[in-house]
Structures are given as structure tokens and as C-alpha cells.
Amino acid sequence: MSTSLLSKPFTDGLAQGVLRYQRCERCGAAQRLARYACTACGEPALGWHDAAGIGRVFSLTEVRRAPTDAFKAMVPYTLVLVDLDEGARLMGHGRAGMAIGDRVRASVFTLDGQPLIRFEPVLGG
């Protein structure tokens, strides 16, 4: 369930196993998170597109102190920020032992009915 109309295409996509991101229809700039207007040129003409799900780890952390009971059962878990090849940046889960700069591929898994992204290392990446 999306908390806003703006983000609905993203959350709907995740529920279908697809990663979506916004791109400016005028200048082509990929956006981070969900926006009403382009962060590069200001045009309020952003379209949602499917991403291939391939990218590079920008940063990561292994979480030991979880904020909720559902996640306490999962600790330790790795959270990553990944720069998709299309230019968007997404937060998701990763694997222990991953490193900044690793090439990764996304899949979608479900935790307590919530679809979440998991990035796995691309072999030979």
C-alpha cells in the first residue's frame, strides 16, 4: 500500500515484482524517490518507467538494532543504497559481505505481506 498517490506507481510495481523510477519527459533526467517536478530542469512532466534492476552499490550498512518486531527477527540484515544503471537510487536489502562498488541485480521478496527489494551480487560484475 502506497502512502501517497505520487508513489503509487512505485509500490504497485513492487507488488508486481517490477522496479519503477521516474524520468523527466523533457530533459530525460532520472529522479530519486518520487517527485512532482524534475530535479534537473523543473518541468512537472515526469513519467514512470520500468528499470532493469541492475546497478552498483553506493553504500551499505549491516543493521543489528531493528526498529520493529518483524525486523528484529531478521537481524543482522544488510541495507544498501544502489545506483541503478538508469540513474535512479534505491534503498533495499542486500547480502552480508557485499561491498561498495559491487554490481548487483534486484529481485523482490515479501516480508509480512510487504514487498521489498533485495539486491544480489552479479557474478563477474
Binding site: 512505485f10 550498512t61 549491516e62 543489528r64 525486523f71 534505491l90 534503498m91
Partner: protein, 381 residues
Amino acid sequence: MQVYIAGAGNTRFGRLDGMGAVDLMAQAGQQAMDEAGVRRQDIDGVLCGYATTLPHLMLASLVSERMGLRPLYAHGMQMGGATGAGMVMLARELVRAGRCQRVLVLAGENRASGQSRDGAIQTLAQVGDADFEVPNGASVPAYYALLASRYLHEHGLSEADLAEFAVLMRHHAASHPDAQLSAPITVADVLASKPIASPLKLLDCCPISDGAVALVVSSQPSRHDGHPVALTGAGQAHHHQHVSAIADTLDMGASASARRAFDEAGTGLADIDYLAIYDSFTITLAVLLEELGVCPRGGSAQRLRDGAFGVDGATALNTHGGLLSFGHSGVGGGMAHIAEAYRQLARRAGARQIAPRRRALLHADGGVLSAHVSLILEQRA
């Protein structure tokens, strides 16, 4: 016209069982008014920080009623950790515009005793994006840990470098009778503390505290102030809200904010001899000191080891112990930096007083290096 900080007040920080958010604010507020030498009826403006333990539609009106104040201007504010500095900036604007003469700026909450630890952590985690970030089991330490991992990677630094900041803040807190944490710690203690979100351990993170801080921002310095402290510049910057949205980790808003404050004050970093910098985590201090230009990129820990940030250093830093050791009660925690900078410049720090300082740079951030506010304080003796 010149605008002054005329008084500061604070409660002890830590666990103060039985005290509600407004109890804490009233205690700090009374102390600030007493120190400023202003009477209740002299306060014509009230700015009040939010309290997570008391979500209220009109907190400034509530606090004013309880304290017997009848301001002609009052409201609450929400800028995360930057709220305190933001309120002082607005108080200065209200005085400069002639709207108010004496503004009571205050914040406090029973963040430690008024809710469960899990409750506090979950409330704070909501600063993340509700659809893209929070569902992942992310938390405020995790957001900052993502910045910390990247920072250590880019600069080839280690967790021991960040740990230095926790050790220094603890050392400074030891001299403040109201600080929450005062037992000395070492770099080894920080490294051995409980892992929270790598590379951050428990001692890289500020504690959760009860406590309140208040300031009087006025058109006049305190009557018994031999060393008046003026607010000579202020600036803000807001480049993003969420960690996933940061366009450039080397330009998150701190430098833009500080540049605006310096331009307004007609001064620069070379004239600064006291630093009051937000320190929710050790990484916060490192990246802010570097983006503000106090030290080269990746060089803040080395500058610390060289002694620049100690009480005898050229740019003494958070001599009360910061959020990391004085404590973090939300908005009040960020205001403690301002109270301490004022007291040091006004030479009212008592046994904690360091060698005379003339000009302080205060910088606070809210969210994940999201909302930035800078203030310049100058002693006008």
C-alpha cells in the same frame, strides 16, 4: 539593529522520571528568563520546539498558558534537529522586524522516560521515506550509517577515526554538571561497544534523554551582562529530505547555509574561535566539520587529534559534550549547543569557562543532513 541572546536555561539531561514535556520546558524557560533579567510580562514572543512525547496542535500556546505568558506572537516549529537553531533564527528576524522585543525560545521533552525505547526508535525512523525507505526496516542510525560507510570508503578512513569524536564529547561532558553521560571512554571502548548499524556502534550514537533548554532572544543584552552576545548572522539550506535523495554527499547544504550566515555577519571561518556543531552521531560531526570548511575533506579526525577542538584548541567544539554525551532530548538537545556557545562567549560558563572567545559558528542539521541552519554569535564587549 543588533539582536542578542540575553539568557539561557537548561534542566539536567538524562532520566528525569515524573517530568512531562511542559514541566521540563517551564523549568528551563524560567531559568532563561531569570538569567536574562526579564519578567514574565516582558516576554512578547514564544517559539516552541515539537515534542515527540507530546504531539499537540498548539504547543507554544499550551506552554504559554502554563507559564503565565501572554505573548503577542507564538507557535511551534518542526525542523527535526535543526529546530532549535531555526527558532533562534526566526526569533532574531521577529526582533529585527520590530514584531517582538523579547522572544522566549524553548524546547524539551521526556524522550527517555515518556515512551519505550522501541517507541522512540520507531517514531524517529519515520523521518525516512514512507514508501521507499521505512518499509525496509530502516532507522535513523541506519540512514546515518549509510552516509558513514560511504564517507569511510571515499576517504580511506577507519571506524577509529569516527570514534575520536565520541571520546572528545565524553571528555567535554565530564565538566558539565547537567550532562547525561560523563564516565570517560576511550577509542577502544567505542570500537567495542554494541553494534547498531555498521559502521556505527552504540557509542557513535547519541543517547535518548529527558531534558529541556531555553533561550531569551532580545533587542537588549541582559542587564547584568558584561559581555553581551549578539546574533550577527543566520542562514539555512534545504537540498533534500531523505538519504536516498541526496544528490551530492559533498554538498548536502551545510556549506550553503554557513555561507549565507557568514555573508550576513560580514565575517568568515578565519574569525571563528568556537564551534557548536550538531552531533547526533560521530559521522554527523565529521561530515559537517568538513562540509563547513573547518577542515579538509576526510581531515576532521586528524584535526581533532591535533587538538583544535579541545577546550584549549583554536576552535573549541561543543564544550558541554554535545548530543553524544550531554544528551539528546530532541529539539532541546540541539539547543544545548546554542546555550553553551552563548555561555562561553558571555563568560558565564562558570567552572567550565574556557579562555575568552569572541565568535562562534553554530550549525545544526535535521533529518539526514537534510535541514541546515547556521548561526553566527559574536561577543560585543
